[in-house]
């Protein structure tokens, strides 16, 4: 299984090279927007890497190879989900390193540190993103899934990147007030816990669905 994740990394050496560039671009374009640049850049890079891995496998007809090897289809699905988290971790590291370099060199670019809420937000949106995307991908393959892709990217990129941290940090916003009303008498921790459980359920449902689709796929 881990070789598959390794494979996902090895095939995109170029993306890794450009990872820094992607993050730079987002940092620069979010200069006015501020702290959302953190989750935005992390999610963007995670998204790019995941998409590239899926596209590449599809282009290479890797399914033929993977399913001829002594590899269960379940493992293939699991590896893909796991890869996303690995990519997420890598994206976080990238951001930290880049932000670090910028601060150390005292470049005239504003960067924000990564906070726990940021990571939680990224995790949340990544999970939502993959939970929606992967079952489609496993059912119809990369090319047909691109439409869903499009919607997801623009939808969740902004929603996840901006909304959740806002939700947790700024309690004065409308949405925050609304959610606090929902969970009246609940604390942040409980909101997070609630969201956590929901996302886990969501993820599991997605995983089950992906398994079902992929198991029945024909090549």
């Amino acid at each position: 299984m881990f070789n598959l994740i390794l494979k996902d990394i090895l095939i995109q050496k170029k993306t890794f090279l450009f990872g820094a560039v992607y993050i730079m671009i987002i940092i620069l374009s979010f200069q006015q927007i501020g702290s959302p640049m953190v989750p935005a850049s992390i999610i963007a890079l995670t998204y790019v890497m995941t998409q590239y891995a899926c596209a590449y496998d599809d282009k290479n007809k890797a399914d033929m190879l993977l399913n001829s090897l002594p590899l269960g289809r379940d493992t293939v699905v699991a590896a893909r989900y796991l890869s996303t988290f690995v990519f997420l971790a890598i994206a976080v590291v990238y951001y930290i390193v880049l932000a670090g370099i910028i601060s150390v060199l005292r470049l005239p670019v504003r960067v924000y540190p990564v906070s726990f809420e940021d990571i939680a937000g990224c995790l949340f949106s990544s999970i939502v993103m993959t939970s929606i995307y992967f079952p489609v991908f496993f059912k119809v393959g990369y090319i047909k899934s691109r439409m869903v892709n499009f919607v997801l990217f623009y939808g969740l990129f902004f929603v996840g990147g901006m909304l959740v941290p806002e939700l947790v940090k700024d309690k004065n916003s409308e949405l925050a007030k609304w959610t606090t009303r929902l969970f009246s008498n609940q604390w942040d921790v409980h909101i997070i816990a609630g969201a956590f459980i929901i996302t886990i359920l969501f993820l599991s449902a997605s995983y089950m669905l992906s398994l079902k689709f992929y198991r029945n796929r024909e090549f």
Partner: protein, 288 residues
Amino acid sequence: MAPILEVKGLKKEFKGFALKNISFTLERGYIMGFIGPNGAGKSTTIKLIMNLLKRDGGEIKVFGLDNIKHEKEIKNRIGFVFDENYFYEELTVAEMKRVIAPLYKNWDDGAFNRYLKKFSLPPDKKIKELSKGMKMKFSLAVALSHNAELLIMDEPTSGLDPIIRSELLDILTSVIQDENKGVFFSTHITSDLDKIADYITFINDGRIIFSCPKDDIFEKYALVRGPKEILNTSIRQYFVGIKENRFGFEGLVKDKHQLNKMFKDGIVIDKPSLDDIMLYFTRRVQNV
């Protein structure tokens, strides 16, 4: 011991094409050639064996085990070489190996490196930079480096020059020196099989036309050429197919021993090639 590959009553339906009741058996220690024209169902059959496609009916047993129930165990013991290279083009030979090797229980790194040397495959070369022949050799190196008992090959030599084809045949005969192994080799380049195959299974239009020892084929069938006057209704039924030209006819006879009783002079009897046999069975140019 159970046959190394056993297919019984295999069925698969597509829009516009169907595999109907495919059955054949391969015992250990032999090479079976799987021949048929393009679109006959060769790749479909192989994909069904590898469970890349789901069968609609019938049975497939590899090493005596059902190919779906024991899928992973079976694939551990199968070496496969497909016509298209499905390995990751961006990875180098060494990286590809690094991804694949741990998946096999009996991976033999020493053997793999020996094959790399034998085939002159540089480990740090990207797979996309390899020529078609080298890609096939890479597939072969992987297939032969985990102590596989059954080699399944789907048109491994299409597009390759006769020299590489002959190298491949050499390797296959070496593999079969071990009488526990088996080779299942689909191709439409039948000249490769004329020599080394032990059994031939011929598929056409989704049906098995015959599956028998190669020698039996040449003992039964004969290519007959002669003057058109000889052909009458009763004579024609001895033929699988007849080609008539301005100066005579050529035909494939089902049982050449019956021939000797009928004809006396004026005809020429030749040993047919597998190509001839395939041609006559698929064209069926016959007025019966």
